[in-house]
Every structure is written in structure tokens, then in C-alpha cells.
Symmetry: C2
Subunit: 208 residues, 2 copies
């Protein structure tokens, strides 16, 4: 995928600021005037770009879910049949997402029920497919882990990785690289413990 170098369009600016504001104060806690002000126009001007406030939220949530799923599918495919490599890569990708797109993570599991039925179903379906991607990788590495437990473990690991939003004041926690490293260890450790601990299939753990 080519990295973008051109300037963001107004729509993109709006989405970005809206995501930040929604994450900070919740969907209902942010007014359209405020979103407009964040991109230098005034409230009603937004309606030249979006049908309404709901439409912004919908586009954000669908976009996140699609991005997560596409990224996951790509990583799983690139692992070329090695469950260990797939799981490593999924964890890596999710960590990047959690650390770099914190506001979106927050939105993702906080405002889902504000969506129209059809949009909510779409997001749920994308989420489910992403989870199943993980479940497949986890069960590839830990074949003795029952499917239900694997699914629950995956949810739990998402909670673990997504914990970055609830942080304390800066300075009391490691920087980005340190956090990425730590989260990686935590996630692998949790899954290994769930999977029986003693016998992961080859390829899952980095060489000592």
C-alpha cells in the first residue's frame, strides 16, 4: 500500500477531529459546532460534507472495523500457513493499531450502539470475522484449546491490548516502544497460559 503524501481532504480532517472529540467526551458530549471549530469552519458547514452527525460516527466505525479486518486478513495471508507467524503478526498489527489510533479504539467499543441497525450489523459482522481470524490463528498454535475458550481468550487479549486508552498521566508509563514490547509479551504470555502453557506448536515464540 502506498503511503499518502498529499494533503488530507476536508472530509478526512473532519473525521479525524470528530474521532478525537468523540473519544474524549463521547458522541453525545460533543456538539457539531465544536467539531466544526476543530477544523476551522462553523457547525452547520459540516453538512456540506456529511448527512449528519450520525453519518460521521457510522463512517468512522465502519472504517475502523474494515481497516482492522483487512489488515488482519493480509497478515494472516502473508504468514503463509504458519499459525505461529500468523498469530505473531496479528498481535503486532493490533498493537500498532492500539498505540497509534487510540481514539478509534475507544470509539470502537463505546459508541457502537448509537448506529443505525444496518450499520451496526455491518460493524458487528466485520468484528466477528476479525475475531474468527484470531481464533483460527490461536487454535493453530494451541490445538488443544477448545474453540469457546479460544474465542474468550481472544476477546480478553483485545481488552488487554486496547487498555492503552485508560492510561494515567504521562511519565508514569513506558514510551511507545516500551509499551509495544510489553504488550507483546503480555499477550503472548496470556495466550500461552490459556493454551496449556507447556506446549505451543513451533513457530509461535521468538528464539531466545
Amino acid at each position: 500500500m502506498a503511503t499518502r503524501t498529499d494533503a488530507p481532504t476536508r472530509r478526512e480532517q473532519i473525521l479525524k477531529e470528530a474521532a478525537r472529540l468523540f473519544a474524549e467526551r463521547g458522541f453525545h458530549g460533543v456538539g457539531v459546532d465544536e467539531i466544526g471549530a476543530a477544523v476551522g469552519i462553523s457547525g452547520p458547514g459540516l453538512y456540506r460534507h456529511f448527512a449528519g452527525k450520525d453519518a460521521m460516527l457510522a463512517e468512522l466505525l465502519v472504517g475502523i472495523s474494515e481497516q482492522l479486518l483487512r489488515g488482519g486478513e493480509r497478515r494472516a495471508a502473508e504468514a503463509g500457513g504458519s499459525p505461529g507467524a500468523a498469530l505473531d503478526s496479528l498481535i503486532e498489527g493490533h498493537i500498532d493499531f492500539a498505540l497509534d489510533d487510540r481514539p478509534l479504539i475507544t470509539l470502537h467499543d463505546r459508541e457502537l450502539d448509537r448506529l443505525r441497525d444496518s450499520d451496526r450489523k455491518l460493524v458487528r459482522s466485520l468484528q466477528r470475522r476479525y475475531v474468527e481470524l484470531w481464533v483460527t490463528a490461536v487454535r493453530g498454535v494451541y490445538p488443544t484449546l477448545p474453540e469457546m475458550e479460544a474465542r474468550a481468550s481472544v476477546h480478553a487479549v483485545f481488552g488487554l491490548l486496547n487498555s492503552t486508552p485508560h492510561l494515567g498521566r504521562p511519565g508514569t508509563l513506558p514510551g511507545r516502544e516500551g509499551m509495544a514490547d510489553l504488550l507483546r509479551r503480555l499477550a503472548h504470555g496470556a495466550l500461552a497460559a490459556a493454551g496449556g502453557g507447556s506446549s505451543p506448536s513451533r513457530g509461535s515464540l521468538p528464539a531466545p
Copy 2:
């Protein structure tokens, strides 16, 4: 502590239903009429029991934080200086809380910023003390783990344990006992991996 057998007071009914509704649809997503209806009275009738909608939320959040902290302090004290026993007990307590008081967990990290400044500061302070309780226990068991990493790991484990709210449809996940067991393994596994993995102090892991 004696278990209550007497009927819940109206205030308690209201708090319980409000917690459920707030967790389901968010603070702003629930009207006072709806809360009233949930306990069989009509909207404004609530004002005989609470100063306002905000007051309900404040009482809920402060109550949760206090309950968590008190429980944690009690467990840490009962461990009698053994960091391993303390950590085990803290994990156990938090799992019980996450499984039994799901709506409160959701509220706890979703609606904190809706509080008045003084209440928010109080809740934050209680939370911080609870975290530090954990950090102490974790560093007792894994003395080589730097404080910052221990704190981040604790936040992450909270995210892991609190993941029960984001579950799929029933039937796709283990029951209560299975979940408790799984969460226990996940949490211990994560912390062990963060703490260096190979050398926890004695008393932290159950005998094989």
C-alpha cells in the same frame, strides 16, 4: 460481612436499574423517564430520592471505586505479607467483580468524565490507590519488573479481566466457572510473561 436478606430500598433499586441502563446505552442515552419506568415510578418521581441524574451517576461511580479499593485492601491485608497470595487474591476478587457486576465495570471506564470535578478527582484517587495496591503485589512477586512496566501491566490486566462486557451472543462462550478459570490463567500468564517469565517468587503459581 453479613449478607443482606432484607428487601432493597427504593434508592438501591433505582441505582441498580440506572447502572444497567447507563451501561447499556450510555449516560446520555437514557432518559429519567426510562429509569423511573424501570422501577415502576415515573420520571420526576426520582427526584424524591436523588438530587438529579448526575447524582445517580456520581453515587454509582464513587461506590464502585470504593468497593473495589476496600475489597483489594482487605485481600492484601489477609495475605499477610505474602506477595504471591496477595496477587492471587486480588486477581480472584477482580474476576468476581468483573463477572458479577458487569454493568458497573462498563460504567466505570466509560462515563467517568461526566462527573463534577470533585467527584471525578475522588474516583480517580480511589482508582489510583487500587492500581498501586496491585503494583505492589506484582512487584512483590516479580521484583525485577520496573515500576513503570508493572503499572502498565496492571492496567493491561484490568483490560483483560474487564473484557467480559464485550462478549458475543450467549452460547459462544464458556459459563461463569469456565470464564473465571480462564481469566485466572490468562491474567497469571500475562503477568508472568511481563515479569520475566522464568523466575516468579514462590507462592504465585498453583502447584502443577
